[in-house]
Symmetry: D2
Subunit: 386 residues, 4 copies
């Protein structure tokens, strides 16, 4: 252990993602013991001193700051993990890149494509290691889906459909702005479900099925005005409460995506399905250890959708955990991404999705919002290399 190469990480932002990332770092030693690089929880940064101090104590960070610029200035920090609201991603990333620090950034990369572009330029100029936390790629069943598609078992792909349904903003009493509800504030979040939820769906989709060429979208804001926690005033809501789009993939398949925070009964129902010539695949975040798979080459009288319990040692990541039949949860996707990041330091390969990959996802998000605003099809300009 003493010979491990230490990477001193600073976490900026101490909300939900601050917790999931920290938990990711802290479990690498136990479950990925062979990795040569190890995170050290060097610092955490958040504006409220009392809270950030408590967070540092609880999770075991060596130090804390209340101004992220201090983090950037510190020479003892090797890597910066950006978990703040979207409106600060670019500024922090640019500063960190300028100082040559590795960057792990929460998704979406930025509020807008233009902001994202500055970030990609910055990390490329600086040549720093980077990754974006599109964590669902690292759910074992999702990684397995990718492997199955890559193996060619599906043949020509006809359809890709995904949705991400939630119901937490249905009440008109939910405010916009503030620590818990900045995702409803267009200034802080950039967009609503498009950047928050569809971005995940788009990242997974392009990773598995290749580039999205053009989109036709519709968005809706069901609750038009909400109280803003900053101003205390009732203000117009600027985000999209719901977004639907259909699209063409580069491979000729049709895509269909939907996201909303107004689907009563669904907490975090991220599902996708891929229909190919020979086989199909389905996945559902509410049942994340399972992958459903239909193989047309099965003997016809006993052919059916298979419910694969992805918990065996020969399935992605699962040899790290317990025994066949025992499930893992949401948090493990972050642990896997953290581990893969540290492995990438060792191999010298990028840890996907990189800023560059996330920039392509951002292109789709931007085209979706443009399409909805203009009520017309939009080309995305995506060049997916995946």
């Amino acid at each position: 252990m003493s010979e491990k190469k230490q990477i001193r990480v600073a976490l900026i932002g101490s909300g939900l993602m601050g917790r999931t990332h920290t938990n990711g770092y802290k479990r690498i030693g136990d479950f990925f013991p062979e990795l040569e690089y190890r995170p050290v929880l060097a610092a955490v940064c958040s504006r409220n001193e009392e809270k950030v101090k408590a967070f540092a104590e609880q999770w075991g960070y060596e130090s804390y700051e209340t101004d992220w610029r201090k983090i950037i200035e510190r020479d003892d920090i090797d890597a910066v993990d950006i978990c703040t609201p979207n409106d600060t991603h670019a500024e922090i990333a640019l500063a960190a890149a300028a100082k040559g620090k590795m960057i792990l950034c929460e998704k979406p990369l930025a509020r807008t494509l233009a902001e994202a572009k500055t970030m990609v330029d910055a990390i490329e100029a600086a040549g720093v290691k980077n990754t974006v936390w599109y964590n669902y790629r690292r759910v074992p069943a999702v990684t397995l889906a990718k492997q199955i598609v890559d193996s060619g078992k599906l043949g020509r792909i006809f359809h890709y459909r995904a949705n991400f349904l939630q119901d937490w903003t249905i009440s008109p009493d939910v405010p916009q702005g503030g620590t818990a509800t900045w995702r409803l504030d267009a200034d802080a979040a950039g967009s609503g479900v498009t950047g928050d939820l569809l971005a995940h769906c788009i990242d997974t989709a392009m990773w598995i099925n290749g580039g999205i060429k053009d989109v036709s979208a519709v968005t809706e804001t069901f609750i038009k005005e909400r109280k803003h926690t900053g101003t205390g005033e009732v203000q117009k809501v600027g985000i999209d409460d719901a977004c639907i789009f259909h699209c063409h993939f580069d491979n000729g398949s049709l895509g269909l995506f939907e996201s909303t925070r107004y689907a009563r009964g669904h907490k975090a129902l991220y599902t996708f399905e891929i229909n190919g010539e020979h086989a199909s695949i389905r996945w559902d975040l509410h049942d994340l250890n399972r992958l459903e798979y239909f193989d047309h080459s099965d003997d016809s009288i006993v052919r059916g959708w298979r419910s694969i319990l992805v918990t065996d040692g020969d399935q992605p990541y699962m040899k790290r955990w317990w025994i066949p039949g025992t499930s893992i949860g949401y948090e493990h996707s972050f642990i896997h991404q953290a581990a893969d990041f540290f492995e990438s330091l060792q191999t010298g390969k990028p840890c996907s999705p990189t800023f560059k990959d996330a920039y392509e996802t951002q292109k789709v998000c931007e085209a979706v919002l443009d399409s909805a605003a203009s009520k017309s099809w939009k080309d995305t300009g995506v060049h997916w290399e995946g």
Copy 2:
């Protein structure tokens, strides 16, 4: 059509089973047009004249009677279908056999093994065609399960488990006796869930997995007294409200059976599962068009339980119906059995389960009740030839 050989059927009893059987007869011409024999709805018999007359009109019976002995005496009746409460099965069957009539009898064959024995003796002496309505064998998914097991795909069988759960007698206000609730009256029914529900499970089990050698059972009567609709008095309840037993099959596998009318939330949850060395099978009456199948020989990373939608033309009975993906229901099991009976007239083969087969099932039921009463293991004496 005019060249079809007509079998003049008399239905005795006009309750639920009277309706399901009649519907079975009436669908044969449309869905099994090639059969040489055809039922003619010659007569229906029930004690209440007003009701039986209405039934005859509604369903198209040529005539009606209020005394089943009249049916037996009529020379224009070829086949008798016994749908009355269990306490009359034996008497009617013996009379019908003596007159050389074909007999289709509702299950269970009789109230007791001794009664059942007289019935088997009678039909064997008379040499008349016979069958017992253990209808669930003819659910396409169940027939497919039998085919899969017979094909050897499961290898050595280790476990067979089945249950039949209902919840309709939980209220102490449900009476015993009478038209709708004779199943709670021990005199009319013989037993409770053992003869009514477990008999189905046992029939399917031995058909698929062979003879049951010995049993160890427990029964319970949760509501000890109920008003009797006949006497108007609150009387001791003589039936078993619930019955559980485990057993050995002749093939060395372990069996587990449970039935109750006190499983809140289950209307008619008949399920079975078979675990073999190489594969397993599950079925559920609430989802009767599906068969679940696990094949250990599937490639390990994509191995899982398959949900087979049994609606394709190459699956049992389904070429008779609509198109792949479109489901059939409970009533179709009776249609299939009716059709198989008329086909058996043509082929000269027995239409299983025959009285003789049902007698073996009766042996298990009797051993189960004996075991529960004596709190000890009982040999069944079954000689299954299936």
Copy 3:
């Protein structure tokens, strides 16, 4: 029975729908005995004499014809049931209306909105009783969904989504044209999945959730050329293999619809889901006896999606059938519609969906195809009175 008023029905077309409708007519007497009107299977018409004669014998039609014009001319025919390919609906309907006959027409009403218009005009001018076989409305769980929404339990509706997925045309060897595959021939069918499958989804959607205002669609033809069974030549495929559209309903909710015949593993997966402020509903044709329901007013710690087994006597249509817990199938939706049609003769009310209702559905289909062709949003012009 002798006092029932007889309606002499002629069936035109003897394919799958000819069978489902005939089965519908034949079961009314048994399961809806109180109805004053009764169908008589007066005639069936189809071009191949040998086949239509066999069909008439099998199903019990009194007579047969090989030219539908003969049917129209016959004075002994009260009602015409149109089950032919879509390209003949209008011509037959116009002729039948002109002769004052009742008309039951398979869906979609016509190939185009213009054709449909002539049909609506014709039946309105003639004042004849009419209905269109959008049968899924009469699946008990779907009818129950409508009742729940009408009761106000969902509150404000935010989302309606539906899909209809099949996989039977994936092979390039499937031809276009001919008896079994006319649905792939644009001349015979008018459109592909839009008229065949999405029309069902649209009918149910507007019935439950009101009018669709505008649409944005995409269609795809995955297999561009297929052999035509008529010409024997490989020809361009003119139909849509897949169609996706999103839309606004009059009530402000967002709609999302998808249909394809290229979703490997799905035979007839028609599903819909409705998300309201207080509750949500889901249904799936592959599990047609169930309705899923989420009620946010349930106590929070035990709140969840309910799986309602729609088989109880107090649920739509189910008192007609067997006992709680026993399922019905696909064919019953047609029986219910047939019964409702004959009841409407008695009540004098329309039997929805009427030609007029189906014309509104046709408007949406046409707008969808226009939108896909022009890559732009289209207003539907729907005036839904439902």
Copy 4:
């Protein structure tokens, strides 16, 4: 953090349970920060020095030993966690108790009731804090099931059924004895599925539904001989491969339990269902974040089994984790038990199940094995205080 009271824990045994328990200890600070007591990973003990050294390094134990007696002798150890095969539980526990150390023991408590008795006597004489790792009680959905039953929502209980199905020993090539397969060696394990799997089911059952009064069981050993890894010889298999029993609970309900390692297709299918007068509950380890619940008091037309996603902050333990809709896994049940143990140091209350509780479970296991051996009903002698 510096003010936390430290409990120096020694882990004996470094297999699967050594890993799950260690992970439990290591997560307490992060997720239960308010607890006053904290575990310190003081020592780990295992016979193979190379392996135990590596384990200590990987997981962060301060020291290691290869002889458990050294652990007992060390004054710097406050608590001993016994994760060794069953044949050593008693000896270690007695020694630890004699030294006044707290004891956390893996289940089953011992190989036999007699062994277990010595352990209970020892901890009672020593007055040391103790708990047994029946971890499934702490799956949030299971804890919620307990709360629902305790609230009286189910009313009178009629049925409790549970099974635990695995398939990992079907191959005759699996040996008995040794590190990975000691569970097949009767000397090391005491029994087969009864102590390994049914003990879990019994613990949960009595916790929720009260004492088990008498049992009637059957066991089977499907593979009669296996190679022993110790002797290298093919030897008779002494364990039960499968065990089924039915029973009476003190509250008058019927119980049904089954366990096997020969259920092809099931890795760790632990399920239970409870049927009460007013409501029923079901749970399944393969879908551990869900609880199914049927409430008969729901309005009849929308009544059905609810699928409760147990991930909300007001459900047991879940406020510790992420956000509604995001799942946790198998390992969390151990984290919860570890946290509850440290909380019990603070409250002074026992951390159930204690040795005393586990002794009652052992009584049922012993009665089950006795019943199977003697083919007769056995009283358990259980006095459940829960």
